[in-house]
């Protein structure tokens, strides 16, 4: 049995709806979706996030509530906020419910970036391009099913190094 719009407006319990890493030009370096969107919706979201995030500067907050004017996604978007942080030319964005804890996710992003930095020894955008399949592993170690899975950098890195050593 499938409900056609199972995710529409509902389940306040899913924390993270998606994680996006984009550069200034709008190229996506990672897109991790925790709810079902069709391809057009994903594309629309990617563009929309880029549009709202890149116009903001250091005087702005790291949080944006967004309204979209596409059909399904617009309605969903009204419930959400984007929590983002810029590192050099890359924007790390997490989309969560409006009631979620802004600062916890903001630091969640930073924690993730520090792990990437350690794992790739001074991470740069190209690392994410060439090792895109490893980045997914890092994400799954730290965030799973839209929830924070592990927060200890030591534990995550130990696990990643162990996996790296496997054939």
């Amino acid at each position: 049995i499938t409900f056609l719009t199972l995710n529409f407006l509902s389940s306040p319990a899913i924390q993270i709806r998606f994680i996006l890493i984009q550069n200034r030009a709008g190229k996506t370096r990672l897109a991790k979706w925790y709810m079902q969107f069709d391809d057009d919706e994903k594309q629309k979201l990617i563009e929309e996030v880029h549009a709202v995030v890149t116009v903001r500067d250091a005087k702005h907050t790291n949080f944006v509530e967004v309204r979209l004017y596409a059909c399904l996604s617009c309605l969903q978007f009204r419930n959400f906020k984007i929590i983002y942080r810029r590192y050099a030319g890359l924007y790390f964005c997490i989309c969560v419910d409006v009631t979620d804890n802004n600062l916890a996710y903001l630091e969640g992003i930073h924690n993730f970036v520090e792990v990437l930095n350690e794992y790739f020894h001074n991470v740069c955008e190209l690392d994410l391009v060439f090792n895109f399949y490893k980045v997914y592993t890092v994400v799954d170690e730290m965030f799973l099913a839209g929830e924070i899975r592990e927060t200890s950098q030591t534990k995550v890195l130990k696990q990643l190094l162990m996996l790296q050593s496997l054939e």
Binding site: I1, T2, F3, L4, T5, L6, F8, L9, S10, S11, P12, A13, Q15, A31, Q36, Q43, R56, K59, H60, T61, N62, F63, C71, L75, R78, N79, V98, T99, N101, N102, L103, A104, L106, E107, H110, L126, D127, V129, F130, N131, F132, Y133, Y136, T137, L144, A145, G146, E147, I148, R149, E150, T151, S152, T154, K155, M162, L163, Q164, L166, E167
Partner: protein
């Protein structure tokens, strides 16, 4: 090309990625990709079996191509093959491809499930985690069917590795969210809750998300988590900054886990156990204390992590709303943040303070920050921060500061961003009316509002100002003068012209003595705007002109000239033409007396205290009420007060908001003001029905005639309710009339009507036999809690019911607050000497007190969003017991009492409804969504029903009631 030199090279992949990056044009990129796709296709089709490494490399290239935005239509089988590899890297690429590319209803799921099954039972923690992550990422129903039984076992097994436990917990959470019916926690509940005690903080971090979700859906089953969460939190909060080693982040011990623990506690009321509560309060105090300590690091990460916990703690304090000391401390802390140099903190403080403002304990403390907040509204660079400041000003407004706040908001409106203007206008209008002591201030404010932001002023707002002016003769002259002055502006908003036309038409005489605003000057001023206005406004102006002829005979010739002109009397618009013709005739034929009668000053609009009970009480005194209630002539007035009141009430009951303004200009009924928040929405309702039902029922209570009727003599105890009485109750959820009960002897029919929080029910007892019933006696009782929730008043019936006769009983019901149970109706009588004793549930359900609310899609979703706390939502997924006929469904939803909103849900199969439940204590806004899966086979058709309201008990009850109807 850093990656090539790094790690386990898939050299071919790195070369391919470099090639793509070096492409100078989109065409070149597509060419390169097509070449690669051809190459991979030939490899996959070739005779030579590929080794695992090549397969992995090609699948990974396909994935890369897909992520670039190109369709991939092959390679799935190769990816599935990789799943059964023994090598981690191959397996990982296989799982990754599937997680990213396979949508949940793919044919491949069965094949994948097989591989997952093998990995789950492999006892290799790395493989187990890969398999669990795949389930968590895909989360399809087929996967839930296959693994929902197995994963809880893995989660609680003693020998499971910690990292596997973490993945299993979140995997289970995903399956529960996607298919709650398949995840049965029953026997695992207690062991899952005890994961809060796990030594490994990572396990606790993951498991608590699962527990929070399960708790929000089944709070009772999981309530033992409260004390465990408190003791865990207490251990973290009291630990030194280095105690937790790996889990200390910039000198803050376990910030994310602390936040999650505090959030879990928000699923529950304050702990009942004094010791637990004490410990929790201590934790919250410690968190507040720590915010005052000097930072252990200058890094923003340190303060963010610390404040993440602080804000979550404040959310919990607000959620409890029972500790005045903590609430005030929270408010003071947020007050410090209001001036912090970090924009994030100022924003969050404004947001959080907004909820504090609504608590009686902290409202005053919030108010002390008014200057800072006004300053934020004026100076913040980020519009979202200004928006929060405006929200907070609105929330902290009361009689003492209304003038200041309204003035600031008005001046902000002059420069406000378009995105928030409409909301601001509404807020100003609501505050101005709510706190108006001095009505000239009110008139000034609304006219200013129209002047500054006329486009955003909805009809309700300007209707209301006219209504108030008409009802208050002390402000009429002032209003006429002010609107006359406002109309002097060369360009003024059409809404201003409407208000001007109406007010000068009624009260222009009050300023006509001044030669600067003589009748002719007034007329010329209005008429100078005429040609710039739309048809409805012109129609209104024509009515103003005929009123002028009545008020000022000296203008008659001029105005008749205007009416007679071709542009009026031959206007292509029928309405305008008709008005011009009729008014012209009226002015030339009718005598002055007739004209004066026709165009008499508008009588005051009824304030909506129009309840029959209040009226009766005033007129007759308590004793006569029951008799009067049965009087046919009076019956129509159940819905309204006086003569006009009745009409207004009926108009309002047809209209969406109970706003008498619907009636004001004889224009179409009004939709509720757009852009309101639910609270604002109900405020508005409040405003419009000021001193309405609450005053009435309060008055009624003073005299006590609505209190439950004293139980009449009953020699035998009432029988317990019939087993089928719940079913009988369900039959009447969506309808008001019908046969409630029937057996060999007796038939009970029912007719009922509801208005606001009052209801009247007629019961018809029919004797089906030819023998009389003696000692016929009926009582209605409210068991338990219901006694304080409903007032039910009945009149006793005659003790003799002749054979074949029918007797009638009237029951008056007043809903004091929301309720769950139904009143019990007990009927006793003797038939041929034998005592009959029947108890039934009276079909009085909470939905009967719904007032339908029409709203546009945007408002619906905004309100929906605002009701997003887990406890505000109730949801049920259930099998369809009847067909899914659209008309039948619609009829049921309308019968529920809500407004059925068209064109709101983007999926036309779904239904959304909105209504306000009226109780004496409060009004509870309620939003509903019903999603049928009509495509499914008969027998598998299901619904998902979601209710959101500002009160958890209401969401749940309406959800339960309605779920039985389909």
């Amino acid at each position: 090309m850093p990656a090539v030199s790094k790690g386990d090279g898939m050299r071919g992949l790195a070369v391919f990625i470099s090639d793509i990056r070096n492409c100078k044009s989109k065409e070149a990129e597509i060419k390169r990709i097509n070449k690669e796709l051809a190459n991979i296709r030939s490899k996959f089709k070739g005779d030579k079996a590929l080794d695992g490494y090549s397969k992995k490399k090609y699948v990974c290239k396909l994935l890369f191509i897909f992520l670039l935005g190109h369709d991939i239509d092959f390679g799935h089988m190769e990816a599935v093959n990789l799943l059964s590899s023994n090598k981690y890297t191959e397996k990982q690429i296989g799982y990754l491809f599937i997680s990213v590319l396979v949508n949940s209803n793919s044919e491949l799921i069965r094949l994948i499930n097989n591989a997952i099954k093998n990995d789950l039972s492999s006892r290799n923690p790395t493989f187990m985690c890969l398999a669990l992550h795949c389930i968590a990422n895909v989360g399809s129903r087929e996967m839930a069917e296959a693994f929902a039984g197995e994963i809880p076992r893995i989660l609680v097994a003693g020998d499971t590795m910690d990292s596997v436990k973490q993945s299993a917990a979140l995997c289970l959470l995903r399956l529960y969210k996607a298919s709650p019916d398949l995840v049965l926690m029953g026997e695992w509940t207690s062991r899952v809750v005890h994961l809060l005690n796990d030594q490994h903080m990572g396990v606790v971090t993951a498991a608590i998300s699962l527990i929070t979700c399960l708790s929000s859906k089944n709070p009772d089953e999981f309530k033992t988590c409260v004390s465990l969460a408190v003791s865990r939190l207490s251990r973290i909060v009291s630990s030194a900054s280095t105690d937790l080693q790996d889990y200390t982040y910039y000198f803050v011990p376990a910030p994310w886990l602390s936040c999650k623990l505090l959030r879990l506690l928000q699923c529950y009321p304050p702990p009942e156990d004094g010791a637990v509560k004490g410990r929790l309060v201590e934790c919250l105090e410690t968190i507040l204390n720590k915010a005052q300590e000097p930072p252990k690091s200058k890094k923003v990460q340190h303060s963010n992590a610390k404040n993440a916990i602080l804000f979550e703690a404040i959310s919990l304090i607000i959620h409890y709303d029972s500790e005045p000391n903590l609430l005030v401390r929270a408010c003071n802390q947020l007050g410090q943040f209001l001036q912090h140099r970090e924009t994030n903190l100022r924003y969050l403080a404004l947001e959080s303070m907004c909820t504090l403002a609504s608590s009686e304990f902290s409202h005053e403390a919030v108010k002390t920050h008014i200057e800072t907040v006004i300053n934020a509204l004026k100076t913040e660079r980020d519009v979202s921060v200004r928006q929060r400041a405006a929200d907070l000003l609105y929330a902290m407004c009361d009689r003492s500061n209304a003038k200041q706040i309204v003035a600031e908001m008005l001046s902000y409106l002059e420069t406000a961003d378009y995105s928030i203007r409409e909301e601001m206008v509404l807020k100003v209008a609501i505050l101005a009316e709510k706190y108006a002591v001095d009505y000239s201030w009110y008139v000034d404010t609304i006219l200013n509002l129209i002047r500054i932001a006329g486009d955003y002023v909805s009809e309700e707002v300007w209707y209301r100002v006219i209504q108030i002016v008409i009802n208050r003769d002390d402000v009429q002259g002032y209003a006429a003068k002010t609107v006359f002055e406002a109309l002097q502006a060369p360009a003024c908003h059409e809404n201003m012209v409407k208000v001007g036309g109406y007010i000068l038409g009624e009260f222009g005489n009050l300023i006509a003595g001044d030669p600067r605003s003589s009748p002719l000057v007034q007329f010329n001023l209005l008429h100078s705007k005429f040609h710039l206005c739309s048809v409805p406004t012109r129609a209104l102006l024509l009515s103003a002109y005929i009123k002028f002829i009545n008020l000022f005979p000296e203008t008659k010739a001029t105005i008749q000239e205007v009416l007679r002109s071709d542009s009026q009397i031959r206007n292509s618009d029928v309405e305008l033409q008709q008005r011009a013709v009729e008014y012209l005739k009226l002015s030339s034929i009718a005598s002055t007396d007739v004209l004066a009668t026709v165009l008499e000053e508008m009588p005051p609009f009824p304030e909506r205290e129009s309840s029959i009970l209040a009226k009766l009480k005033k007129k007759k005194g308590p004793g006569a009420v029951s008799v009067e209630l049965e009087d046919g002539k009076e019956r129509g007035e159940l819905n309204g007060g006086g003569d006009r009141g009745g009409d207004a009430a009926i108009a309002a009951s047809n209209a969406s908001t109970p706003s008498p303004s619907a009636d004001l200009l004889g224009l179409r009924s009004t939709a509720p003001v757009s852009g309101t928040t639910p609270s604002a929405g109900s405020l508005l309702v409040d405003v419009f029905s000021e001193a309405g039902p609450s005053a009435t029922s309060a008055g009624v209570n003073d005299d006590g005639f609505l209190s439950s009727a004293p139980p009449t003599v009953a020699s035998e105890d009432p029988a317990p309710p019939l087993p089928e009485s719940d079913e009988l109750l369900n039959k009447f959820v969506c309808k008001n009339n019908g046969v409630l009960f029937e057996n060999q002897l007796l038939q009970i029919g029912i007719k009922s009507e509801y208005r606001q929080n009052l209801g009247r029910m007629y019961l018809f007892y029919g004797n089906k036999t030819s023998v009389q019933f003696v000692s016929f006696n009926t009582t209605v009782s409210c068991p338990g809690e219901l006694q304080s929730q409903l007032n039910v008043q009945t009149k006793t019936v005659e003790p003799l019911v002749e054979g074949g006769a029918q007797v009638q009983q009237v029951i008056n019901i007043e809903c004091l607050t929301d309720f769950i149970d139904a009143p019990l109706l007990n009927i006793k009588f003797r038939y041929g000497g034998a005592l009959q004793n029947i108890s039934l549930k009276l079909p009085v359900t909470i939905n009967k007190f719904f007032q339908p609310t029409e709203m546009a899609a945007a408002d619906f979703f905004q309100r929906w969003k605002q009701l997003s706390q887990p406890q505000q939502e109730a949801q049920k997924i259930f099998k369809a017991s009847h067909g899914m006929d659209t008309e039948v469904l619609k009829a049921k939803l309308l019968g529920l009492g809500t407004a059925l909103l068209e064109n709101v849900d983007p999926n036309p199969e779904n239904y959304v409804c909105a209504g306000v439940i009226q109780t004496k204590a409060q009004q509870v806004g309620c939003l509903l969504r019903l999603e049928p899966n009509a495509q499914a086979q008969p027998g598998e058709q299901m619904y998902r029903l979601t209710l959101r309201s500002s009160k958890d008990t209401v969401s749940q009850r309406v959800c339960d009631l309605l779920a039985e109807q389909f």
